[in-house]
């Protein structure tokens, strides 16, 4: 569940009749000249595309002239923003701002409903506004089965101060945002700022769109977007392809566990015993031999000091986990200490397999955790 690039979100906006400024992806000097001609202006916005916020404050969004655009773009391409290099730059027509609004439609997981958030104090500091002036953020809850229709948003539009044609424009934009959220299985559609231009139009100056990762199987157009690949590091992607959730941390012990809760509790426990997790690989419920083997392969390539395998099988079967461990240790040359804890569904069979291959398996988590910390600390 990771956000889309701004330009990807805006392409979806266009398909759903949500007005956006004219734009074009940078693609060499000619694209700047062409775009300037297209919009008939000498100035344009240059917007670095990134999967993290704070672009404005980082100087990654800037108004430039046709003549200075190329130089500016070259200065931001490759710049690291929140750990990732800028690879894509969007050129956009500048809009003349009369007023900035904030508008979001989200699937609120607390209530299981759609929730609209809106404010006439849009702009970068909306979270601050929300804290300082909570009454200036309007909320509108809608049932998950809602069929969004413009009339539902007239009241809200009036609260935000929209009048005349802008009132119906606003209601239609919000209708389209919600329709898009429903049809594309989105968790969030956020526009900040939504701009009222000096010539009386309403237009989405930014886009933040977050799809539901669980629904990508039925949203092939979203699943194939570049952002959905770029959200992962190389390692995360390799793991994700195998159905493993990889989380990078900064300690010394690599963890393979199944289930998010147990994975996190394992990390907590290592810390409690005086060590720290280097990363964890959650092989999930229903992990099979292949997944476990792949997880060990990924771990074996990391600069870690020990491996802790902590599996409590429910839907996962311990014999399959054991087979995975044996398979991986035969394929890979693992020289660092490894402690295995294995219990749950089919555990007798699993432990048998391990012992036949010379491995010991703990039945309880805490002694096992203590042991791997000892081994790692002793090896220092």
């Amino acid at each position: 569940m990771s956000m889309l690039y701004e330009f990807e979100g805006k392409n979806l906006f266009k398909e759903h009749n949500i007005p956006v400024p004219k734009s074009k992806l940078y693609n060499g000097k000619q694209s700047i000249v062409d775009f300037a001609k297209e919009i008939g202006k000498n100035e344009m916005m240059v917007k670095a595309q990134a999967l993290a916020g704070g672009r404005g404050k980082a100087g990654l969004i800037k108004k430039v002239t046709v003549n200075t655009a190329e130089e500016h773009i070259k200065s931001i391409l490759g710049r690291i923003h929140h750990g990732k290099p800028i690879e894509i730059v969007m050129l956009e027509e500048p809009v003349k701002i009369k007023k900035e609004y904030y508008l979001a439609a989200m699937l609120d997981t607390n209530s299981g409903q759609y929730l609209v958030l809106a404010s006439s104090r849009g702009g970068v500091d909306i979270e601050e506004i929300a804290e300082k002036y909570p009454n200036e953020i309007y909320r509108l809850a809608l049932p998950i089965t809602v069929e969004p229709l413009p009339f539902m948003f007239i009241d809200l539009g009036k609260k935000l101060g929209f009048t005349a044609k802008k009132l119906t424009q606003f209601a239609q934009i919000l209708t389209n945002m919600l329709t898009m959220a429903i049809n594309l299985d989105l968790m969030l559609v956020e526009i900040n700022p939504l701009i009222e231009t000096i010539d009386g139009h309403i237009i989405a100056a930014d886009s933040k769109v977050v799809p539901d990762g669980n629904a990508l199987f039925r949203q092939p157009n979203l699943a194939s977007l570049k952002s959905q690949r770029d959200q992962y590091s190389e390692l995360e992607y390799e793991a994700a392809q195998a159905g493993i959730s990889y989380v990078q941390l900064d300690g010394e012990i690599g963890i393979i566990a199944c289930g998010a809760g147990l994975s996190m509790a394992t990390c907590d426990l290592l810390k409690y015993y005086g060590s720290s997790p280097a990363n964890f690989l959650d092989v999930g419920g229903g992990a099979d031999q292949k997944k476990v083997s792949k997880a060990l392969e990924i771990l074996s390539e990391q600069p870690i000091k020990g491996i802790f395998i902590n599996v409590f099988g429910g839907i996962t079967r311990c014999d399959e986990v054991a087979e995975g461990i044996i398979d991986a240790t035969k394929r890979l040359n693992i020289k660092i200490p490894m402690v295995i804890r294995l219990i749950g569904t089919n555990d007798k069979k699993g432990i048998e397999i391990l012992e036949k291959n010379g491995f010991h398996a703990y039945g309880e988590m805490e002694p096992a955790a203590k042991k791997i910390v000892e081994l790692v600390k002793g090896g220092n």
Binding site: L107, I144, D212, G261, M264
Partner: protein
Amino acid sequence: MAILLNNETKVIVQGITGHQGSFHTQRMLDYDTKIVAGVTPGKGGQTVHGVPVFDSMKEAMEKTHADASVIFIPAPFVYSAAIEAIEAGIKLLVIITEGVPVKDTAKIKRKAKEKGVILIGPNCPGLITPGVSKIGIIPGNITKKGDVGIVSRSGTLTYEIIQNLTLNGIGQSTCVGLGGDPVKGLDFVDVLKMFEEDPQTKHIVMVGEIGGTGEQQAAKLIGDGKITKPVYAFIAGQTAPPGKKMGHAGAIVHGKSGTAKEKMRVLENAGVFTAEVPRDIATAIKNNLSK
């Protein structure tokens, strides 16, 4: 007594002919769960481990008048199966499947509420009343009949807690896995209330995680004096990095309340014992017992 599940609860397995469905049906049968039917469209007339299979929930309900249904079906097909179960008149619906789209779950939840159906899950291990019956995948051999009610957002971590209690000689009334998805059926407050009402349950253990607000709602309920039995909590993720916020909207709606620290703080303020490591729970219960 226990809650939700007793030895008369008749259970249907949706997706009984699948890999997981078939395997865990056997496990449930081994635990004496009353599995009265299975449902897999196109496989009506077959049997799985002696359980008759029907093509639809409607047929299965007509023939068996079951109380509960458990879903072992791939995520893309869960929505249809869940609505089918609710419309067929089931009273307790447990969805084990992981990866169900959030919108689907929210719609299932709404429909369940409309029809007075208790929903557990998705992405959950189910529930077990030790020595009596189980629905789902919680390993039976780690449990022990007793008076501690367990309610957990986690799957495998629940087993951890159960095992630790059992090894310490502390038995359980019912263990309920709520599931780890952001939108789910029963939440902490619902199950806390059930344990409060249940004569067999003397202690309540909550197993939480970072994210969401279920633990805070539970803390409010307990703080308001609605739960008189002692409550013990373990919250996983004390050392986890903060999760990605869902835009400004997520930050505005959820605030800072999702961290393990914050959850532990509000639970403690409500009078809940909060454990640093899982075994602290067993120790605390023992201390309480010896008082």
